[in-house]
């Protein structure tokens, strides 16, 4: 019995640590508040317990228990719904929205991380059961390391080049280089834009990247990330300076325009390079035969 206890405890500790480490709360990750974090740590603990108990249950052997474990794992699907619902509700009061694509991505990540916790706990407890508890210190960190490594997706900097673009006016049309952003009438607004506005071109490296950047959800995610760090001068009844990302329809690259509270072009570009490529927006044209043929 003692043996089982050590196996289970090692599994739970490894799984819980995995959840803790993957629960990053930086500028764009949600949740930012202690209560939100507690919810996820608690659920992570339950997931770790599930994974840790599985090995002793099989070894016992108690197959009924294993079946119940599988049933319990179903509960983690609710995590995704919970996150999606909270974030969607919060969208209504946001000046700059995340967009549904981004929310869906975040919700999916939260669900997936719990499965990673289960796997980490499962492997660790298996190793401990087989070779003894000292090996938990090897298996646990490796699993945690692998899960952080595997779960860090592509970033925009991997698929696109970000270069500065000149903000200027052509008549009443606001342009970033040769990308038309919007129509601005008032001279005061124009002046402010010319003085404080920043423009950036996001040039896709290949056809897949072009499709990714086409997706409005991906563009909204870029804008949200930028605004959540640099701020914007949009207010509730003053949407004139709304940050926008528009496409150069012929050449396929994006022009991004923003009037930020912190006008620092270098960091703006760096932030854009770090924006995650959303799963739902990822282009996969080059994976298909015709896509590759059409590309050349």
């Amino acid at each position: 019995m003692d043996n089982y206890l050590i196996v289970i405890v090692c599994g739970i500790v490894a799984g819980f640590l995995a959840r803790w480490i993957t629960l990053r709360s930086d500028y764009r990750h949600y949740p930012t508040y202690p209560h939100g974090q507690l919810v996820h740590l608690a659920v992570g603990f339950i997931a770790a317990s599930l994974g840790a108990v599985a090995v002793p249950a099989i070894m016992k052997p108690d197959f009924v228990a294993v079946t119940f474990l599988v049933l319990a794992a179903q509960q983690f699907r609710d995590i995704r719904n919970m996150e999606r619902e909270t974030l969607t509700r919060l969208e209504e009061t946001k000046l700059i929205r995340r967009g549904t694509d981004y929310i869906e991505g975040i919700a999916r990540v939260f669900e997936a991380r719990n499965y990673l916790v289960i796997i980490t706990a499962l492997i660790t407890s298996l190793v401990v059961y087989r070779w003894g508890w000292p090996f938990a210190f090897i298996a646990g960190p490796i699993c945690i390391f692998l899960s952080t490594l595997l779960m860090s997706g592509q970033r925009l900097g991997d698929i696109a080049e970000v270069v500065p673009g000149k903000v200027h006016f052509q008549g009443s049309l606001l342009m970033v280089e040769d990308v038309i952003i919007m129509n601005v009438a008032l001279p005061q607004t124009k002046e402010k834009i010319l003085k404080e506005g920043m423009g950036v071109l996001i040039k896709p490296k290949n056809d897949d990247a072009r499709l990714t950047l086409d997706a409005p959800g991906q563009r909204q995610a870029i804008i949200h990330d930028v605004v959540s760090i640099l701020g914007s001068k949009v207010d509730i009844a003053e949407p004139d300076l709304m940050p926008l990302a528009r496409k150069q329809v012929d050449k396929g690259y994006l022009g991004l325009f923003i009037v930020a509270n912190e006008p620092d072009l270098d960091y703006l570009m760096e932030i854009i390079r770090k924006v995650p490529v959303l799963e739902s927006a990822r282009g996969t044209a080059l994976k298909s035969y015709f896509g590759r043929k059409a590309a050349d």
Binding site: E92, L186, I236, A237, E238, P239
Partner: protein, 66 residues
Amino acid sequence: MNLDVSLKEAILAVVTRNPAKVGGGGCPIFLAQDQEEMEKTALLLARILGGIVHDLENDVFIIVRH
């Protein structure tokens, strides 16, 4: 559920100093004497209505909420 009912993607007001360019429709038209008054009226209307002023480049400004 969003209970806030508002007009979107619609012209909320037209400001012009050339009445010959506009007419009819269901949208209020504000006449101005000169460019300066036009800009001022448009700015005030945009702030009040929460819209953006767009320039049709023929002495007509429209206020649109996106």
